[in-house]
């Protein structure tokens, strides 16, 4: 009889969650950004639904500050799978004055919620599958796999539905919606091991490459048309890789020479800094940054 390892068990749990969404939600979508977690979600969706097509479209909220390699990858992957990709961009939200920024180059992470909530309303989505994990952050550690949002898209951490066994209550009132996190129980290391096992292609910026960066605070800021050295700062070219790929203005690479999955897994197993701690400037402003963003409807 087949012995199942931890990845087999995690995979099966995720497939089960996705099928529950497909069966019980009227109009779901899967959030796909081109990042490693959502790449894993797509593979899990293939495992859950092939030989049929996915029972939901892919949705990306494009901040306009994404790494170009990741956007190319996103389009190519959706195309290969033959699945429908919907892109809604923050540029449009800015043009329509749904989002008002102080500076064009400021981090757009926190404002994604507006575009996301608008897209949910536009398509009448009642459930969005996302690639968030509980090991990422304190607020996520307390979030349910099926996480309810009121009609303002808000999460109320004190008022969550109890979630027992793997029996999920998916019922919502009109106007409310659910965020569903099928890989809640995966860690960063599980994700990398799964990418290796499944031989999944990922954008090149996850591997070590030479890049011009600025040392700022505890992090490395990648130099781009949005991020330039301030007075007194200098740039240097070093070997880095990204552990997450989000908004270019607040996603920091880490110093690394890991040029293949084997080396990334070695580094991840040995690393002494959390994924978000190393790579997200927006989570370092306060101990509760993520919780506050989530309450505003952030993913």
């Amino acid at each position: 009889m087949k012995k199942l390892d931890h990845l087999d068990i995690l995979e099966s749990e995720s497939i089960h969650i996705m099928r529950e969404v497909a069966a019980e939600c009227a109009n779901p979508a899967l959030l796909f950004s081109g990042g490693k977690d959502s790449i894993v979600l797509l593979r899990l969706a293939e495992k859950a639904f092939r030989p049929a097509r996915f029972p939901f479209p892919l949705l990306h909220i494009d901040t306009g500050h994404n790494f170009p390699e990741v956007i190319d990858f996103r389009d190519r992957r959706a195309n290969e799978l033959g699945e429908r990709l919907i892109v809604r961009s923050m540029e449009d939200s800015i043009k329509n004055k749904r989002v008002v920024l102080k500076r064009h180059d400021q981090s757009r992470n926190a404002f994604q919620s507006v575009t996301l909530l608008d897209a949910i309303a536009e398509f009448n989505f009642d459930a969005c599958l996302g690639g968030a994990r509980r090991d990422e952050e304190k607020a996520r550690a307390k979030e349910r796999i099926f996480s309810f949002r009121d009609e303002f898209g808000q999460w109320d951490p004190k008022n969550q539905r109890p979630e027992l066994w793997d029996i999920y209550n998916t019922r919502v009132h009109p106007g409310e919606n659910i965020r569903v996190f099928p890989i809640s129980n995966w860690t960063e290391l599980d994700i990398w091991q799964y990418i290796r096992r499944e031989k999944l292609e990922i954008p090149g910026i996850y591997f070590a490459h030479s890049r011009e960066v600025i040392r700022r605070g505890n992090g490395l800021m990648p130099v781009s048309h949005l991020v330039k050295p301030l007075e007194g700062e200098k740039t240097e070219k070093i070997s880095v890789r990204f552990r997450t790929v989000g908004d270019m203005t607040c996603t920091c690479p880490v110093e690394s020479i890991a040029s293949n999955l084997e080396e990334i897994i070695m580094e991840t197993a040995a690393t002494r800094i959390t994924e978000r701690g190393a790579t997200r400037m927006d989570d370092q402003t306060s101990d509760a940054s993520m919780e506050l963003r989530k309450r505003e409807g952030y993913f």
Partner: protein
């Protein structure tokens, strides 16, 4: 091969539960430097020394403001042998509800006892809830041994008292470990402070406890019917227990129609045999009318099919039970309506006494009830099968999950 274990920690802050989890993560090198430095900052701000390991398990801003824990949090760590998922539940208010929730997915419970205080009412409550939710393995962590001079007698008298009580419960396997989470004795590293203890450390128990491969009865609730086009009609779901092989004679419930397994389809290719908890797609020899909510089982091994059943119920909602109302039941992949036929008794979780004459249930109440469903449910007793013996009740007006049930 790396396996997985889910466990729950039961105890209050006073027993050193947060410190124990912090110690486990710290000594297994699962705490990261940025978390450590954030904890150090907070400890200093509160005017304390060193690093308070319990801060690691503080989650939300609301909790930090009030200095309480409001809900179940999940923590992750791993050793080369195993991946662990900890359900960390707070020890005070709403305890029953939170512990039942956290325990529902756990295979092991750690019950903390403060060596100075011994077996308390709370300890008994935790052990009872662990047995109610069917956790097969229990670790009794007798903590703060440093404060009783690492005394063998103190440890043995606590273990004796606990064993006396536990004999009334249905728990397969109980291990007791003397430890100090604060000093790190017997958590990850074996200590020299208690040479009289010859057993394993906590981590060693967690790494080695038997995760028996499920060889129970084959149960396959159908989640989704896959019909992408002509010629393919597959029933998607997860094997909740047991195993299935190509050629097996099956029955579909509730219709009772028979067929045989033609193919076990997966994205990675067909299988000859599949086992719980794999998610697969089953193809049958005959075209039957099967939809979500049906259950595929082996012809010679079928669960009970009935509209009425008895269950232990844990009431979760702040809104009390209105026994005259209908509620929705979600059992496996089937949702139906139920009415209450009777409330036999409520369990006093402190004394384990059965209280009769109960008309309603409030949050955290545990009771034995009789229910009647609109449709027949294919179910096993919870003691025999955690997947097909469990259910939730939903209030169809508020959509809230109001109760968790275990069939008897």
């Amino acid at each position: 091969m790396k396996t997985m274990l889910r466990f729950i920690t039961a105890g209050s802050v006073d027993d050193g539960k947060s410190t124990l989890i912090g110690r486990l993560l710290h000594d297994s090198k699962s705490i990261f430097e940025d978390q450590l430095s954030a904890m150090e900052k907070t400890t200093k701000r509160r005017g304390l020394q060193g690093i308070d390991l319990s801060l690691l398990t503080d989650g939300l801003q609301a909790e930090r403001e009030q200095g309480i824990t409001i809900d179940v949090a999940y923590r992750y760590f791993s050793t080369p042998k195993r991946k662990f998922i900890i359900a960390d539940t707070p020890g005070h208010e709403q305890y029953t509800r939170n512990m039942v929730t956290g325990a529902s997915t756990a295979n092991l419970a750690i019950i903390l006892i403060d060596a100075r205080r011994g077996v308390l009412t709370q300890t008994k409550r935790h052990a009872y809830l662990a047995s109610l939710v069917g956790i097969p393995h229990l670790v009794v962590a007798v903590n703060k041994m440093d404060l009783v001079g690492y005394s063998k007698e103190a440890f043995e008298s606590i273990v004796a008292e606990f064993s006396d009580f536990a004999a009334r419960l249905d728990i397969e396997d109980i291990v007791a470990i003397p430890m100090s989470a604060l000093e790190g004795d017997n958590v990850v590293e074996k200590t020299e402070n208690m040479p009289w203890y010859e057993g394993e450390t906590l981590l060693s128990v967690l790494e080695n406890v038997e995760r028996e491969q499920d060889i129970g009865d084959f149960r396959f609730p159908v989640q989704w019917v896959c019909r992408p086009g002509q010629g393919f009609r597959g029933y998607m779901g997860r094997i909740e227990s047991g195993s299935v092989a190509v050629g097996d004679e099956i029955a579909v419930l509730p219709s009772g129609r028979n067929s045989r397994i033609r193919e076990i389809h997966t994205f990675d290719g067909p299988l000859l045999e599949a086992v719980a908890p794999q998610s697969v797609t089953l193809l049958l020899e005959e075209e039957l009318d099967i939809s979500r909510g049906d259950m595929i089982v082996k012809r010679d091994n079928q669960p009970k099919l009935s509209r009425t059943f008895e269950a232990m119920l844990c009431w979760l909602s702040e809104e009390p039970l209105d026994a005259k109302r209908k509620y929705l039941i979600k059992h496996g992949t089937r949702t139906s309506k139920i009415v209450f036929e009777k409330i036999d008794y409520r369990v006093n979780v402190n004394s384990l006494e059965q209280e009769s004459g109960i008309a309603s249930l409030s949050m955290n109440d545990i009771a034995r009830v009789g229910l009647r469903a609109q449709h027949a449910l294919a179910a096993d007793s919870y003691a025999k099968n955690r997947a097909t013996g469990s259910f939730i009740l939903i209030d169809e007006f508020t959509n809230n999950t109001v109760a968790a049930g275990m069939m008897t």
